[in-house]
């Protein structure tokens, strides 16, 4: 597996990710936690313990460098599952995904897997797990800390962070390491107005730098402003893909909401 490269050698419109006929099915356990005790209790009864979830169904998508793809859809539409497939976290059940570059994920606040460790430790560990070298992270660390505006809090345990601080650190890590392909899953909206603007500028900067971005968001106005393309997922299927305004209008119509302020607002 490749490490996240700092340089970018990709041209505009060059293919970044190709998703071909991807389907994802998995079984989840109905019990909250799978335990030996629960298994033993239901042993004689032949009761089915699992439920089959069809998260993605025959998805075809291409993402080019220099483009920003917005992904929209209701909760449970399969947006995060698709992002996890692209990042190689979940293997697809059908189809094939080809990735032509390094991927950095910012999937629903990825950094901070150990809340009792400091922000600094978590950034290093997250980066190392993603395949970066210690030197690479150390080289980027000051910029990350500065971008996140956390100040001294960077050395405090992450359990003391507010959700906004969490999101800021997560975004900073993903945006500063300059991956070829950046996936941002609903993480833009947690910061305050100032940070949100800063991160949007960063997104635009990365776009003009010929990187590929995938934004998963419910903030329609943001998507209209930043994306070249929007894909609308519903119940694991790709409903529509194309011009942001066209797709978002169709989606909002579908929601029977029209152009209400509630969904245009970045919430």
């Amino acid at each position: 597996m490749s490490s996240l490269s700092v340089s970018n050698a990709h041209l505009t419109n060059e293919l970044a990710v190709s998703i071909r006929g991807v389907g994802l099915t998995y079984t989840t356990s109905i019990d909250k936690k799978p335990t030996l005790k629960a298994r033993a209790k239901s042993l004689g009864r032949g009761k089915k313990q699992t439920r089959v979830v069809r998260a993605l169904d025959d998805i075809n998508l291409d993402i080019q460098y220099g483009h920003v793809l917005g992904v929209i859809g209701t909760n449970g539409a399969g947006k995060s599952s698709l992002m996890r497939c692209v990042a190689g976290i979940l293997p697809p059940s059908q189809g094939r995904i080809e990735v032509y570059g390094s991927v950095s994920t910012l999937l629903a606040l990825g950094v901070g897997f150990n809340p009792s460790m400091s922000g600094r430790d978590n950034v290093f560990l997250g980066g190392l797990a993603a395949g970066m070298s210690r030197e690479e992270i150390a080289g980027n660390f000051d910029e990350i800390a500065e971008f996140s505006e956390l100040g001294d809090a960077i050395d405090a345990p992450m359990r003391t962070y507010s959700s906004g601080m969490y999101a800021r650190l997560a975004f900073s890590v993903a945006a500063v390491v300059r991956p070829d392909i950046l996936i941002i899953d609903e993480a833009l909206s947690t910061g305050d107005a100032k940070f949100k603007e800063k991160s949007l500028n960063r997104v635009k900067e990365l776009r003009s730098d010929d990187r590929a971005l995938i934004l998963v968001s419910h903030a329609m106005q943001t998507l209209r402003e930043t994306c070249n393309d929007v894909a609308w997922l519903h119940k694991g299927q790709l409903v529509q893909r194309g011009e942001p305004n066209v797709v978002i209008d169709a989606y909002q119509e579908f929601l029977h909401l029209g152009k209400s302020a509630a969904i245009d607002e970045d919430v």
């Binding site: 597996m1 293997p91 570059g101 994920t105 897997f113 150990n114 560990l125 395949g131």
Partner: protein, 275 residues
Amino acid sequence: MSTPLQVYEPFKAGLPKLGRYWKSLWSRRTFIKEYSKSELREQHFDSVFGQLWLVINPLLLSAVYFILIIIIGGATDSARYAHLTASLFLFYLVANSLTGGVKSVTAGQRLILNTAFPRIMLPISALVIAIFKFLPTLIVFIVIKAIVGSPFTIEMLWAIPVLLITIFLALGLAITISCINVYFRDIASFLPYLTRTLLYLSPILYAASDLKPSLRVIEVVNPLFPILDSWSQAMVQGEAPELSSMLQGLAWATGIFFIGTYFFLSREREFAVRL
């Protein structure tokens, strides 16, 4: 067009490509180092008193068990105490990698859901942490051995291969139990009973040679029995352990490692949906 860097396709049950997996694991070896370091730092083992606790804790433990031996077994000698501490410390290396390993995957949930990396790094880190906790107790034992006047011989070097076999066994156990815990979360709650049983089934509170013939079966079913016996032979008595015991221990370690790793590797790609 250039060739894709990564291709994700449906996987059949079975192992991932081992060569690639190993490369990917090896390139992340610093993660294992850093993760163990920060974990130890978080548990305050980087401070003076934290390290002191690493030494005091096993000493207190051995003192408690020594009292038990005196009360149950009557009169006893200093060699017995040396045997107890040496075996107990090695046992805790295995027990710590079990208790650290059991939740290593489930606790790494956030990381697993958000980053693609070889999941086996997590139980390996648990083993590394257990080894770091073991090292100071080794020094304590050497001091105890000198105080009770037990002989230092060249045969004590046999303890090195025995220790390596133990680490191998502990690794296999950590990998296995971390994988089982993904599917049965209550294993973590059973574990204290499991380790306690293992403690009593191992030649720690008693010498292997004291075992009643009718209980000899323990020797065969307990993976720790042969290595703890060999460890005591080498470290306490300063004699070369029996080769058959060491081979038996190695066979256990190899078996557990390969079976556990096979299950872990063939299952790890679906951990993300199981957490």
